[in-house]
């Protein structure tokens, strides 16, 4: 069957439609459409289930990066369906998630394990039989037996100031056969708390979804609210959002490149970058008073203005900080002992990257040309530097170098934006949220694509709100990157991805 056989609802980024207009397919067509389109190069950006009377509706969002189209499709499903993971590995985590949240069994899923071990201290959960209650971290892991084979278990509490997660390595000496990553420790029930909203707290939930991606997630959320309430934020608000998004990206990239230096024992870059990252965060705080961009992005625009004087001051600060960063980070590429440790470690092939649906810098480092800012932009053109794709070795070096190129591009972008800020208001009050709608919104967070999908009920409240942090796609990439590597390379590989635990656990 060719791709064109299926008719789907095609939206642009931050698009909305009547829920009734979403293409309803048979379950088999739904499966085949996803499998064939992903084979043809589209990506599975989101997939989730919603309850409808006695049955379930499965929804999927497929991103066509060449045509800047987001296809939405749905089908009715009973308590089980044939898993598509074997034909479309990108679906593996989504299917596990749907099973965990809704109990819909993907028959034939190769490794159906808990995603987040949904636990709470409600009486309902406490009254469940012990066997029915998931116990965090307790599940089947890969096992290797034989002489000189051993298992290393790390976490949830790690050796640094870092979020919790559990890692399990099967090793032969220093050599890693497999790494499995078991998360869920950070589960705070955000998607559930958002239901029937938006509530007073919803925007703050989005800010704290993943504290280092505050702008990425709040922007994705606000784009949905704005579409659902027919509100077009003024041009200056959008410009300020973009500036904040790039500041967030630069701060995180600079911090991580420094940390990569530390992981290979190269302390100059690590010391300088620690301070330079702080300088970047402080520029964010100049705008909104908070180093992580809390409170700036609100539905309808932004809450804080950048006047001419502040813009000028910011340009100077960004310039100085950028110069320091360039000098500190350039040392990495010129130091043979650093390059020897970066190159060839934790490599992923372009094929693997496509198969598992990597996003963001990790995908670009494999040579995959995707970047939401470029492919699905919404008003402000952003060009990914072509050079970002020239280093497609997929290893630690590529992931690090791509980030450096992105910093350089973001620097230029922010300066240009600050110098050409539109002269408009920064806020337009959104109206009431429309009933029975679906809205899909993407942004390019610093780790990659952030996807939020909202569905409203007959009263204009959320009946579903599905969040996909880039980490949801990429954690499995880290697990694969460690295969056949030395276990001592784990911190280095881990930092080159630097994925979010709470963004995954929600």
């Amino acid at each position: 069957m060719t791709v064109e056989t299926y008719k789907t609802l095609d939206l642009k980024n931050a698009g909305t439609a009547n829920l009734g207009d979403v293409t309803q397919m048979s379950l088999e067509d739904f499966r085949q459409c996803i499998i064939s389109r992903v084979k043809a190069g589209m990506r599975l950006s989101n997939m989730f289930a919603a309850k409808k009377a006695d049955t379930f509706i499965l929804y999927a969002v497929l991103a066509d990066d060449n045509e800047s189209v987001l296809s939405v499709l749905s089908c009715e499903s009973g308590k089980s369906y044939d898993s598509m993971t074997n034909d479309c590995p990108q679906a593996h985590m989504f299917e596990r998630e749907i099973y965990e949240q809704m109990g819909i069994m993907p028959e034939g899923h190769p490794w159906l394990k808990p995603v987040r071990f949904l636990n709470d201290n409600s009486t309902e959960n406490k009254n469940k039989a012990k066997t029915k209650r998931p116990e965090i971290g307790r599940t089947d892991y890969f096992e290797v037996t034989g002489e000189e084979v051993h298992e290393v278990a790390v976490g949830p509490v790690h050796a640094g100031v870092i979020e919790p997660g559990h890692f399990r390595f099967q090793c032969h000496g220093e050599r890693v056969f497999t790494l499995e990553i078991s998360l869920g420790y950070q589960h705070r029930g955000i998607e559930k708390a958002v239901l029937a909203g938006p509530h007073k707290r919803t925007i703050h939930h989005m800010e704290a979804l993943s504290g280092d991606t505050t702008i990425g997630h709040t922007t994705a959320y606000c784009q949905n609210i704005e579409k659902l309430s027919n509100c077009t934020p003024p041009a200056k608000a959008l410009a300020i959002r973009n500036i904040m998004l790039e500041l967030e990206r630069m701060a995180n990239h600079i911090g991580d490149l420094g940390a990569l230096g530390a992981d290979v024992g190269y302390l100059p870059t690590s010391s300088y970058c620690g301070a330079i990252r702080g300088d970047m965060l402080n520029i964010t705080a100049m705008v909104c008073g908070n180093r992580f961009g809390r409170g700036i992005v609100v539905p309808g625009g932004v809450a804080w203005d950048i006047d001419e004087k502040l813009a000028q001051e910011m340009v100077e600060r960004v310039q100085t900080t950028g110069d320091y960063a360039k000098e500190a980070i350039d040392m990495l590429w010129e130091t043979p002992s650093v390059m020897a440790r970066f190159q060839g470690v934790g490599a992923l092939s372009l094929q693997t990257c496509r198969d598992i649906g990597l996003v963001g810098p990790a995908a670009r480092a494999c040579g995959l040309h995707i970047d939401t800012r470029q492919d699905h932009n919404f008003g402000y053109p952003y060009a990914t530097p072509e050079a970002a794709y020239e280093t497609h070795t997929g290893d630690v070096y590529a992931r690090a170098y791509v980030r450096w190129l992105e910093i350089a591009e973001s620097l230029k972008f922010v300066k240009r934006q600050l110098q050409t800020l539109p002269n408009t208001p920064i806020y337009l009050e959104p109206g009431p949220i429309m009933a029975n709608k679906i809205a899909v919104s993407l942004t390019e967070g610093w780790r990659g694509e952030v996807c939020h999908t909202a569905i409203t009920d007959k009263d204009g409240n959320f009946s579903s709100y599905k969040i996909v942090d880039p980490s949801f796609h990429n954690w499995f990439g880290l697990a694969l990157a460690l295969r056949e590597q030395e276990i001592s390379d784990f911190p280095l590989c881990n930092k080159s991805f630097n994925l979010s635990y709470c963004g995954f656990d929600l």
């Binding site: 987040r116 071990f117 636990n119 709470d120 201290n121 409600s122 965090i136 949830p156 509490v157 050796a159 640094g160 100031v161 870092i162 979020e163 919790p164 869920g184 420790y185 950070q186 589960h187 705070r188 029930g189 708390a193 007073k200 707290r201 925007i203 703050h204 939930h205 800010e207 704290a208 993943s210 504290g211 280092d212 505050t214 100059p268 010391s271 300088y272 620690g274 301070a275 990252r277 702080g278 402080n282 705080a285 100049m286 705008v287 909104c288 008073g289 908070n290 180093r291 992580f292 809390r294 804080w304 320091y324 000098e327 500190a328 040392m331 010129e334 979010s500 635990y501 709470c502 656990d505």
Partner: protein
């Protein structure tokens, strides 16, 4: 090699002078210690309370009070107040030793830190913390981490985040404590040798913050462990955290 040396010279000396010199300047729009002006507050008005996302504001006998342990410092209340009865000052000093001291009223004075119990004097020379993120969003964690960079360099006070609870003198907890992290947090606490302190960093760890009353969390560590220091904020500024740590080791009053 020459370039390495040249870079070292260019990058300069970045460590702040505080507490021997002035504190680093805070951004103009920074929202620090709240202040309530009773004289301007209309006792019948509830506008600030209506917009507060976490119900940090309440009225007792018609007088407004703000619980910093729950507050996200989002500033929605000050925007909603028609009389400027409420403001966020740029004072970074928020840490205190008792839960009730986090409640700001119109009568609140300058913050004074007095420890809940007498702490061993050797902590003043060396105090090692094990940081546990119990469903923290990585903002509080990041601002704890930043204290170890050259800009803040808490090592110069004998302060350090260590890898093992066995090597630590206490826990610095972030996050609302998810059900899924409860057991790991308690086990880590058990592993810390006596005498041990518990520091809560951020509104989540103190009260659940933005996740307050989610069934998936425990509204912070308050009900699970004995607490020695509360550092509110969402997240607290590094200077606010440093202020708390320096008070614990009696470097500042």
């Amino acid at each position: 090699m020459f370039k390495t040396i040249l870079t070292r010279i260019n990058q300069g000396y970045r460590t702040i002078k505080y507490p021997d010199g002035p504190a680093p300047p805070l951004p103009v729009r920074f929202r620090g210690r709240p202040k309530i002006h009773d004289s301007k507050c209309d006792s019948a008005c509830t506008k600030c309370m209506d917009v507060c996302p976490t119900s940090a504001l309440s009225k007792v006998d018609g007088k407004l009070q703000l619980d910093m342990g729950v507050c996200l410092f989002c500033g929605k209340c000050t925007a909603a107040c028609p009389n400027e009865a409420l403001e966020f000052t740029r004072d970074h000093r928020l840490a205190c030793a008792r839960r009730e001291e986090l409640i700001i009223t119109g009568d609140s004075k300058e913050p004074v830190y007095t420890p809940q119990r007498e702490l061993p004097a050797f902590f003043n020379k060396s105090f090692k913390m094990r940081q546990v993120s119990a469903a923290g969003c990585n903002a509080c964690e990041a601002d704890c981490n930043v204290l170890t960079t050259v800009g803040w360099d808490i090592g110069r006070f004998g302060l350090q985040f260590v890898a093992s609870p066995r090597h630590s003198d206490g826990l610095a907890i972030t996050g609302p404590v998810s059900e899924n992290m409860r057991s790991a947090l308690l086990t880590t606490y058990e592993a810390v040798p006596h005498p041990k302190l518990v520091l809560l960093v951020g509104s989540c760890a103190i009260s659940g913050g933005v996740f307050k009353d989610h069934p998936e969390t425990h509204n912070g560590a308050e009900n699970l462990l004995p607490i020695d220091l509360y550092i509110p904020g969402c997240p607290p500024h590094p200077l606010t955290i440093l202020d708390g740590l320096l008070k614990i080791i009696q470097r500042i009053k």
